[in-house]
């Protein structure tokens, strides 16, 4: 049961081969056993999970089960969960028991999914390695001396180590795709506006988007279908009818199920900077795609190199505004000693935020300060337009875009912590997708040196989630990388 797909778990629950309570207990016991070595969870909610599992069992017995009823999952600790500690990886929220549920959390509750707990993450989702968590780094299940990626590293590590079959995440600059790549699992970030941001603690609002982790594209499709949908409480939520993202998974019975699919290869993604072991795995995956009937075509994203500079203006600017709410008045950490209100703010924020969060707030404060707005934020938003236009030009020549998820496999814990800029550059292939607001997916495509997973990124045009998932699913029908498990 531990390694079963969602389809297999659904069948076992419906056939009463296992109850939801037994299934939840199985995963809770695994968390108890393996979490001390991985630190993937900040909070484990055994009582809440068992209560939800009992309710799910009643629903299954009554014949009212939906696709996810009784299925255990984990939520990234960025999602507010009523009555459960919600820290966002920060000391600032170390005592914050949320009084309400995020939209994603309420949707999954209503679907009957069983929340096992809240996963570790980079503080306020700012980071690429999970080392920025106040609750300690998450360790990569493939090699516990290495990072799992970030910022949704706890969710990725939990699914990779099968402490949960599926998990939620968020992706502002690659925070679902990059950790999925580094931990050998599948992760999807949908088109901006598809998943509601209500109750998802804000980092950079024009980029933040909820996403899904699973062992396979098929599992991700089911989770995403339950998470997505219009929500009037998020002003950037898109008014679109609900979708079944698994609808294109069944392919025609053919040994060339991807015949006719044109895969664009941006030459900028295959230039210098990609490690040789990553390149070898990605090239082999592209060869596999060609065997499945797809053709590859060279495309260009000439402004992609500007994505990181533009991101490090837009994201810190929005973060400095969003995080001004943490003032020690209504919730969160308040300093013990202060002489006046100004000092209370300054000390509470100095004590409550970690180093990287403070750096991004300071960068954002500067670029938004008087006289600098046009030179920084506005310029970055114009570059965003150019980057988005590059993708549209590329999609005139291809159906999906493919390339590496990250330039290297997972690095050693501590290797990049002293140099923020080196850390930022590791997101070179993922960030442009957020700036353009496009959907992106990472799936495992082999191993590099040290038996570390390599991820392949697929990027689709707006609202092409079902196609991305179907493409990855066909690859996973023909390969077994997604079935490999860490020792």
């Amino acid at each position: 049961m531990i390694h079963a797909s969602l389809t297999e778990l659904r069948a076992a629950l419906d056939a009463k081969k296992i109850s939801s309570v037994e299934l939840a207990t199985l995963f809770l016991d695994r968390i108890e056993q393996h979490n001390p070595a991985l630190n993937a969870f900040i909070t484990v909610d055994r009582d809440g999970a068992l209560a939800a599992a009992r309710a799910a069992d009643a629903r299954i017995a009554a014949g009212n089960a939906g696709p996810l009823t009784g299925i255990p999952l984990a939520h990234k600790d960025v999602f507010c969960t009523e009555g459960v500690l919600t820290t966002c990886g920060s000391k600032m929220l170390s005592n914050f028991v949320s009084p309400y549920d995020a939209h994603v959390v309420s949707l999954l509750k209503a679907a009957g999914a069983v929340n096992l707990g809240k996963t570790n993450m980079d503080e306020f989702a700012m980071g690429s390695s999970n080392e920025n968590s106040h609750y300690g780094p998450v360790r990569n299940p493939w090699d516990t001396t290495r990072i799992p990626g970030g910022s949704s590293g706890g969710s990725a590590a939990a699914v990779a180590a099968r402490l949960a079959p599926i998990a939620t995440g968020t992706d502002t600059g690659g925070s679902v795709r990059q950790p999925a790549g580094h931990t050998g699992i599948t992760g999807i970030k949908p088109t901006y506006g598809v998943v509601s941001r209500y109750g998802m603690i804000a980092y950079a609002s024009s980029l933040d988007q909820g996403g899904a982790f699973g062992a396979s594209a098929a599992d991700c499709a089911q989770l995403l279908s339950a998470m997505a949908g219009f929500d009037e409480r998020d002003s950037t939520s898109l008014e679109r009818p609900a979708e079944d993202y698994a609808r294109e998974l069944a392919a025609p019975a053919s040994d060339q199920p991807l015949a006719g699919l044109r895969i664009g290869l941006p030459r900028e993604f295959f230039a210098e900077g990609m490690a040789e072991d990553v390149r070898a795995a990605v090239e082999a995956a592209l060869e596999q795609y060609r065997k499945l009937g797809a053709t590859t075509v060279d495309v260009s994203l000439p402004n992609a190199k500007l994505a990181i500079p533009a991101y490090y203006v837009i994201a810190p600017a929005e973060a400095s505004s969003n995080l001004s709410r943490f003032d020690g008045v209504r919730y969160g950490h308040r300093a013990a000693e202060y002489r006046d209100l100004a000092e209370m703010y300054a000390k509470s924020r100095a004590e409550g935020f970690g180093a990287e969060v403070k750096r991004r707030i300071l960068v954002g404060t500067y670029v938004l300060s008087h006289g600098y707005y046009d030179a920084y934020y506005l310029q970055a938003q114009k570059l965003r337009r150019l980057i988005a236009q590059d993708f549209q030009a590329a999609f005139a020549q291809c159906d999906v875009i493919a390339g590496p998820t990250s330039p290297t496999t997972a690095w050693a814990i501590g290797e990049k912590t002293d140099d923020p800029v080196q850390m930022y550059l590791s997101d070179i292939y993922t960030i442009a997708v957020n700036l353009a607001g496009l959907p992106g997916l990472s799936h495992p495509c082999g191993f590099g040196g040290g038996n570390l997973p390599v991820g392949l990124q697929l990027i689709g045009d707006y609202f092409a989630e079902a196609r991305l998932l179907a493409t990855a699913h066909q690859y996973q029908q023909a390969t077994d990388w997604h079935l490999r498990r860490p020792g």
Binding site: G193, V363, L386, P420, G437
Partner: protein
Amino acid sequence: MSLTTEQVLRIAGLARIELAEGDVEATRAKLNGIFGLIEQMQAVDTSGVEPMSHPQDVAQRLRDDVATEADRREAFQRVAPQTEAGLYLVPKVIE
């Protein structure tokens, strides 16, 4: 571009983040590294390009001006550092 110590202290003041004296120089060095990365943007001619704030260029939705939220003051104040009689307490601002 290179930030001066005075600029770093001014930004920290605007951001309401106390910066310990011993941390100012290290903060300044790291911020300058980040701005070194950001400055690459300035070389690009973007005249005539419309800034993009939402990928779908949607308009802000409007709704009727009616109360939709229930009063949950007690639940929300339970997580506050200091409250009294339904009010949030802060240090005295007016003498």
